[in-house]
């Protein structure tokens, strides 16, 4: 494994990897649970439309909620069984708020719906993307953006390079590592499919140099293909898409642009694996690999059906070995505390770490910033976190924006190296939300002002119009009077003429 032609970004950190514990055992299949709870919102975009009602029998792989519009993803029954209810349940989300879920009671027969592999080489792209929009596949690296949308490229944007993200830079997480070791062929085949759909000339896999076995497996699987396997240094956050593109290609994706604007598309390894399974085997997205690690007794990777209660996964891993009962979803750098152990496993859940005071000690007391700029040295975006902190803390929000607060990717490197134990990322999140709220209220105020001005103008106009109308009316009335007078004069004259005539006749 040699680091060749790598472009190093500024900063980054290398925390203790803690990956070995969960890679000792192969991926195990978690048994079908007694109950599956499937949130309708497991992806970025519109909530899926419910297609079933309580009491319905469903088969494994059957769509139970359909993608609503383009930016949405379908939800499939992970096993056969009966729809129990549709209700609000607590989700694995930092907010801890409940949302709508479909609950399935499995019949433990695990009967598949008829699998329909797609001969993707033969059908045209529009049809293929239409088919993929039914697959339920979303970005499995954690972003959960509907995958078919990332394959649907405008005519004017041609993709030249497909980057497969195999960096898995966060400590503790090993789901992609194990997937690569055990299913390298699926990943390479999936990558080739994605490359062909995108019409990309090149396909590069970027993998950190701490995953030797996975690298060897990929190398072997990619032997007779044009897929290039490129090693990047083990340096968090190398798995951030923009950082990975820079490491591999030396291209900085500009601010407010996406990599596709530069002809580069990025997929996670598990996502391309899922594309392969859907097109070649006809299996939609109904399960994923989840790392369960940390303070649990036997850390391991499991293939888990979506909707499985997290408590089942914890039980499979030997249960908790300390009493805190605190679980983190994601890695220790960007993850969050789970609101409960009864949340379901979702498409975004790549790793669950049982917290313990030894692994993650309580934060130390915060000291003042001494401007040592270690944070600036560690920032992969090359920001000046100490200045952003100063501005965020003193609510100088315009200054914070000017110092490019919105370029912050919240990777946590600054907090990781701070001698004063300042929770920097929390300050940035606060400042960002404040700025967004201010912008919104400013916009609302502007709209209100415009409306008010329009209203005042309208009232003014109407007044004027009314006045004009009145004037017109008054004028009209005068005319009428004059006319009436004329008419009566004429009538009187006529009368006189008539009288005269009659008198003449009499005479």
């Amino acid at each position: 494994m040699q680091l060749k032609n790598i472009f190093k970004f500024n900063g980054g950190v290398h925390p203790d990897e803690n990956k070995i514990a969960s890679t000792r055992l192969p991926i195990a299949k978690l048994a079908i649970p007694k109950k599956l709870v499937l949130p309708l919102r497991q992806h970025v975009g519109h909530v899926a439309k419910i297609k079933v009602k309580p009491g319905d029998q469903v088969l494994k792989g059957q769509i139970i909620a359909e993608a609503d519009g383009n930016i949405s993803a379908s939800i499939h029954a992970p096993t056969s069984g009966k729809i129990l209810k549709i209700s609000e349940e607590i989700l694995p989300h930092p907010s801890g708020l409940p949302d709508f879920c479909i609950t399935i009671e499995p019949d433990f027969k695990d009967t598949w719906i008829e699998k329909k592999p797609i001969s993707w080489k033969k059908i045209d792209k529009a049809q293929l993307i239409e088919a993929l929009s039914q697959s339920g596949i979303v970005g499995l690296g954690g972003a959960v953006f509907p995958t078919h949308m990332k394959l649907k490229i405008n005519q004017n944007q041609s993709i030249h390079t497909l980057v497969i993200n195999a960096a898995e830079c966060e400590p503790f997480i090993t789901c992609d590592d194990m997937l690569m070791r055990e299913r390298a062929d699926e990943i390479i085949q999936g990558s080739l499919i994605a490359q062909s759909i995108l019409g990309a000339e090149k396909c590069v896999v970027g993998i950190e140099d701490n995953k030797i076995e996975a690298y060897e497996a990929l190398k072997k699987a990619a032997q007779k293909t044009a897929v290039e396997i490129k090693v990047v240094p083990t340096l968090y956050p190398s798995g951030d898409a923009k950082r990975l593109i820079y490491l591999l290609m030396g291209i900085e994706v500009p601010k407010e642009k996406r990599s596709v604007d530069l002809g580069i598309q990025v997929f996670n390894v598990a996502t391309v694996g899922a594309i392969y399974r859907y097109l070649e085997l006809g299996e939609p997205s109904i399960s994923r690999i989840v790392t369960i690690t940390g303070a649990v007794k036997t850390p391991q990777n499991y293939e888990v059906l979506f909707g499985t209660p997290l408590s089942d996964l914890i039980k499979a891993a030997g249960g908790s070995s300390n009493k805190t009962k605190k679980f983190i979803m994601g890695g220790p750098m960007m993850g969050f505390d789970l609101p409960s152990i009864h949340v379901p496993v979702t498409k975004a859940m790549n790793c669950v770490i049982e917290s313990s005071p030894e692994l993650f000690p309580a934060p130390k007391p915060v000291m003042p910033c001494i401007r040592c700029a270690r944070c600036a040295d560690a920032c992969p975006v090359n920001l000046q976190p100490q200045e952003l902190y100063w501005f965020s803390k003193s609510s100088q929000l315009e200054k914070a924006r000017e110092y490019n607060l919105f370029d912050c990717i919240e990777c946590g490197c600054c907090t990781y190296v701070c001698p004063s134990n300042i929770p920097l990322v929390q300050f940035y999140r606060y400042a960002k939300s404040e700025i967004i709220a201010q912008d919104k209220s400013k916009e609302a105020a502007n709209t209100a002002r415009e409306r008010n001005e329009f209203r005042l103008a309208r009232i003014e106009r109407e007044k004027k119009e009314r006045a004009e109308r009145h004037a017109q009316k008054a004028l009209g009335a005068q005319d009428k009077q004059a006319e009436d007078e004329k008419k009566s004069t004429i009538a009187a004259a006529m009368e006189r003429v008539k009288q005269n005539q009659q008198e003449n006749i009499k005479n």
């Binding site: 820079y246 500009p254 750098m333 505390d337 000291m367 401007r371 000046q384 370029d407 990781y416």
Partner: protein, 339 residues
């Protein structure tokens, strides 16, 4: 549910950073004792006690927790830097007063740790230098040059009772620093080659002083190795001082001392590694640090050669402390993905 990620940290605490700075001063201080005797240790002790008592009192008045802010060690760093910058036989109240000035005016009036605009040690030093120029420029001569050997007890007596010895004896025990001596002798139209024949000169700097500076240099390199300070500041400062004095020295060797003399005399080394590297009052951007180092070096040289004081570090540092925020705002690095 609050999102407190990252859950892991790996950073030396402020206390550890400050402790390492104190540790880095020890070789220089040890050589100081070797050359000049124990007087400096008395000053360090007095300064340390003053800082702890003053800071505790101020923290109590400001209703801040005392323990963490005493243990952060930043006060001790200030105290030690001042104690090794003043003459080792200065009366005891000089260091006590100086330390009070540092901590009250240099640090806590601005808001304490992390908020000081100026380098606290230099605030105290500058006020002392302006207020007590005679005391602040009377340096003890190295003990091995003395006719009547002065033991450590004598030093303590002098520090606590400046009238203990008759003035003549005291004068025989002290002299101007080499920088000061050159300055006054040059006004008497002596060529530099003659001036440097005086017994207070050593190989490249002041006798004994050059040795102490080597000690500080060793400590500075340790700080670089431990990544407590970045290379930008010391390199920019020393390189500029070297280059400027080289130009003048080559042009007129009998009027301008050699570049090595400038680096190994006065507080140059201490300034490069320990004073301008105070993160709070220095710029934070890499480019900014370089400009800061260059600016201070130029100003130090100008004050030494053309100014009214033999040494200009305190004034140069304080003047550039004012510029630090401006330098920062003008030297913002390019952000990933920006033009």
């Amino acid at each position: 549910m609050e999102n407190r990620s990252p859950y892991i940290v790996n950073a030396p605490s402020v206390s550890v950073i400050m402790l390492k700075v104190l540790l880095a001063l020890i070789p220089g201080i040890a050589l100081y004792v070797y050359v000049f005797g124990l007087g400096v240790l008395i000053n360090i002790l007095l300064a340390s006690l003053t800082v702890i008592m003053t800071e505790s009192a101020i923290l109590a008045i400001r209703k801040l927790p005392i323990k963490p802010f005493i243990l952060d060690g930043s006060g001790l760093v200030t105290a030690w830097l001042l104690a090794i910058s003043i003459p080792s036989i200065a009366p005891w109240w000089i260091i006590v007063l100086g330390t009070l000035l540092c901590i009250i005016f240099g640090k806590h009036l601005y808001g304490g740790l992390g908020y000081n605009l100026f380098n606290p040690a230099m605030v105290g030093y500058a006020i002392l230098l302006i207020s007590f120029p005679s005391i602040m420029t009377h340096w003890q001569i190295p003990t091995n040059l003395m006719v009547n050997h002065m033991n450590w007890l004598d030093q303590i007596r002098i520090i606590f009772n400046s009238n203990f010895f008759p003035k003549e004896t005291l004068d025989a025990m002290s002299s101007a620093t080499p920088l000061d001596y050159i300055k006054t002798q040059l006004t008497l139209h002596q060529p530099l080659s003659t001036i440097e024949q005086d017994k207070i000169f050593g190989f490249i700097g002041g006798r004994g002083l050059e040795l102490i500076n080597l000690g500080y240099l060793a400590g500075g390199l340790y700080l670089l190795k431990e990544k407590i300070i970045s290379w930008h500041l010391p390199v920019a400062f020393l390189f500029t001082l070297f280059l400027t004095s080289l130009v003048f020295n080559v042009a007129a060797p009998d009027t301008f001392a050699s570049p090595l003399f400038h680096i190994m005399s006065g507080g140059s080394i201490l300034c490069a590694f320990f004073i301008i590297t105070d993160p709070v009052s220095a710029p934070t951007t890499p480019k900014g640090k370089i400009y800061f180092g260059i600016g201070i070096a130029l100003l130090v040289f100008i004050i030494r050669i053309f100014g009214g004081y033999p040494e200009g570090i305190a004034f140069a540092v304080l003047l550039f402390n004012i510029c630090a925020p401006l330098i920062d705002s003008l030297t913002q690095p390019r952000i990933f993905g920006h033009k």
